[in-house]
Symmetry: C2
Subunit: 188 residues, 2 copies
Amino acid sequence: MSDVPIKKLEPKIRQGLVVILTGNGKGKTTSALGMALRACGHRQRTIIVQFMKGDLYSGEWDGVELLAPLVTLHHTGKGFCGIEGNPYPHSEHRANAQEALLLVEDILRRDQCDLLILDEINNALQLALVDLEQVKALLALRPPHMHLVLTGRDAHPELVAMADTVSEVREIKHAYRRHIEPQPGIDF
Amino acid sequence: MSDVPIKKLEPKIRQGLVVILTGNGKGKTTSALGMALRACGHRQRTIIVQFMKGDLYSGEWDGVELLAPLVTLHHTGKGFCGIEGNPYPHSEHRANAQEALLLVEDILRRDQCDLLILDEINNALQLALVDLEQVKALLALRPPHMHLVLTGRDAHPELVAMADTVSEVREIKHAYRRHIEPQPGIDF
């Protein structure tokens, strides 16, 4: 529609960034998914490791198949630990999250992607499914070129201090408060 | 990795939602892109109309090609009106945005998608490239099944009042404040 000349940025210094998406509003995981889509435009390789999520279908599981082989998603969890209706004890959630950490460590050591998204890891930390020292150890393994995105509520202040870019997504209003059911394409 | 049974939600009442993503932090457009990716998993059709954007390459332009024909993106603008280095007068930006509104009206009247993203329309409104009454008229044309997402800073309070779900993305910190250049895969 528009006939303007298009510029393309090329940073003099390329570097991987650590990004945290936290807060109580809608749009943290969703934003990380958008980064994966954007990274595809640069032919970057993205790996998404979802902590806790795994017992409830979400559209991104099939959506990312369209971005294969550039994007890979692992949902490693058994649902949100401690919420109503979730039948698994803390120990099982923790064992699961610990297994996911091994996967992440392997991805980092083998430098397998340009963008690594650890979805809901902030919650996993807050719920003591993983430990702060473990997450810090992962950050220390990050190859300098690799972007690392951590999502989930209640980001730990020490991780916020270590990150380059941090956004807090605040709920101003949400449909579910008016008893509107979660809708496909928006909520899952 | 996990062997849990997977549930799939199916709302008793399906309805389109109006979602606003606003605030000064990173992750509004990105979140809308993530919704497009998620919607693909439900085989929903998404159209993204970017206001103002169009003079600076961003990875999503090529990223969404991988989601064709489910996702279509139109960048209609000549860059951010009024920012340093943008050579176009307000009248040209407004003419452009007005043309984009016609495109949006056509999409709504012909019911051409399940998810319609009007990227940066909040800014376009704030900069008087489009008028509040025009945006409200578009909202009134929305088919009940269609999700409509409005992004950009400074969302108008009347639109916030009309929306179902509103998130404010707040900047806690941003790499550019430490003079780190925008990085592909994260910032564009």
